[in-house]
Symmetry: C2
Subunit: 307 residues, 2 copies
């Protein structure tokens, strides 16, 4: 409840909105009870649906992640991971310090068996009204071909289970369409994706294809993906500051998407944008619910290690 | 004259416009005289200002570059490179087959002494009305830190001499602002740029900074740069198809910029976009003139090998 630039006020609003959905899961709210209790009352949130877990400390947005987690065992992020590790909660969401969320995940939550590296993704608004998935967007600046191959499998599961796309098409982000194009990583990744029967590989896609309908799952190293994501975010900011009123560019408002789950770990951990507002918190809660109800982590485990 | 989707009609129009500038350099037009002569007459182009160099063959936009150059020695591209190599012309421009332009350059025009790899760049419209330079945008999918350092030096010369920017600021495209961030390439490049006294290094820039005013010269490997360039091109296409009327997004019309010179070689070779129209040809001719009059290649040579 204490993570993000507008916490806990916007987090509470998101909680309130979520509890008004048709059949919400019960929530465990981690944070400072002195701040949260009056807000829960003010928003008339049904006490039967939420459980408050007091955390007297907060990790600031600019604190050093490892140091902060060590020195603040009573912070909301540290407590959240402790609860998740002990199966007291089924998913953990925070819009707080991203580094602390990643470090906390690394030390508390097991990776899937057979996994090389976890990944984070972003949703990309597609021109045809659909939504694509881009991964990795920054967790792995340098990648190996086998990692990209696993990202493709996990992205495929996510696109099916969460985005509801049948037989999602996977494209490899590259500098040309033909097989054999690209840097060493892309050249070595192509044959792995081509041979992978778990995915629907459609070949290379170029920078101009990222926003069009060619591929649903778009795979690249985290360096490239991070540049793409941040450039797309800046396009939205520019459109807004230029007062461009356009339904497509409005879909570049990454706040609306809520947050990104870390894929490749045993339990759902969802990292929100620092500027998350009510809608973002609501969407993260809905995403966590979907991941829990569909047991997406188990499907991801089967994808990574089929036997 | 035969290169590009609208050749030779748009090329002739560009020639006509260029010859109407205040003090144009004389032009040598390479192409099929049967097609060009009637066009020169129709546009009333002063024969004293142009010299026609007949080339009976044309390399198609989709021909294999090396094969085509070998099998078509009388193509306009092959003849252009022969003229440039023999100092019959001072610069060579074509909107034709990009691969053939690169292969032709490789086999006909010497690299600068001490150069590791030539590079191609693109202009990037900046939010403050200025124009930045992004390089490499695809010639070198895999790069070494020392190459990026040379790109930074060449980009600095180009920004000064051609874009008229005093003391251009160089940024390293990366996934975070702090030194030490990034993939192995970016991590190893940072100290080289920091220690380079020939450039005004301002540190890392992120994807969100590419379109803002932070840096004038933006350095990255050709894989990343190509994705950025093609994504920026697609933004323009989307803005147009969404009928967005906006002066800033209009500046993403890469046709207007004309073409990109290959940097790091002894003579100006300018590669145009396949869809080049009159304005693009005019701008390429003006760029070639500037490069010749300022002897930019000599300044680039001094930057690469100062002694």
């Amino acid at each position: 409840m204490m993570g993000g630039d507008y916490a806990p006020a916007e987090a509470i609003k998101g909680v309130k909105s979520y509890l008004e959905t048709s059949s919400p899961l019960p929530l465990c709210l981690v944070g400072d009870e002195k701040q949260l209790n009056p807000l829960l009352e003010a928003h008339q949130i049904n006490p039967a649906l939420v459980q408050l877990q007091h955390a007297e400390e907060v990790i600031g947005m600019h604190e050093h992640p490892t140091k902060a987690l060590k020195e603040k065992p009573n912070s909301s992020i540290a407590k959240g991971f402790a609860l998740l590790a002990k199966n007291k909660i089924d998913a953990f969401i925070s819009a707080g310090n991203t580094g602390a969320m990643l470090v906390g995940t690394h030390f508390s939550i097991k990776p899937l068996e057979g996994l090389l590296r976890p990944t984070i993704s972003t949703l990309i608004p597609k021109r045809n009204g659909q939504t694509g998935l881009l991964l990795d967007v920054g967790l792995n600046a340098d990648c190996k071909p086998e990692q990209l191959n696993q990202f493709a499998m996990m992205g495929t599961v996510y696109a099916k289970e969460i985005l509801g796309i049948d037989n999602p098409r996977t494209g490899l982000i590259n500098v040309g369409e033909e097989e054999g194009k690209g840097n060493q990583l892309a050249q070595a990744t192509y044959p792995l994706l081509k041979a992978n029967e778990q995915i629907n590989f459609i070949g290379n896609i170029e920078g101009r294809d990222i926003l069009d309908e060619k591929a649903d799952v778009m795979v690249c190293d985290g360096f490239t993906g991070n540049i793409i994501l941040k450039m797309a975010e800046s396009i939205y900011d520019i459109a807004r500051s230029e007062k461009i009123n356009n339904a497509y560019f409005d879909r570049f408002n990454f706040e609306d998407y809520g947050g990104t789950p870390i894929l490749g770990i045993a339990k759902p951990v969802i990292i929100g944008h620092g500027i998350s507002g009510e809608k973002a918190f609501l969407n993260m809660l809905k995403l966590a619910e979907k991941m829990i109800r569909k047991d997406v982590m188990a499907t991801l485990q089967k994808a990574i290690q089929p036997q």
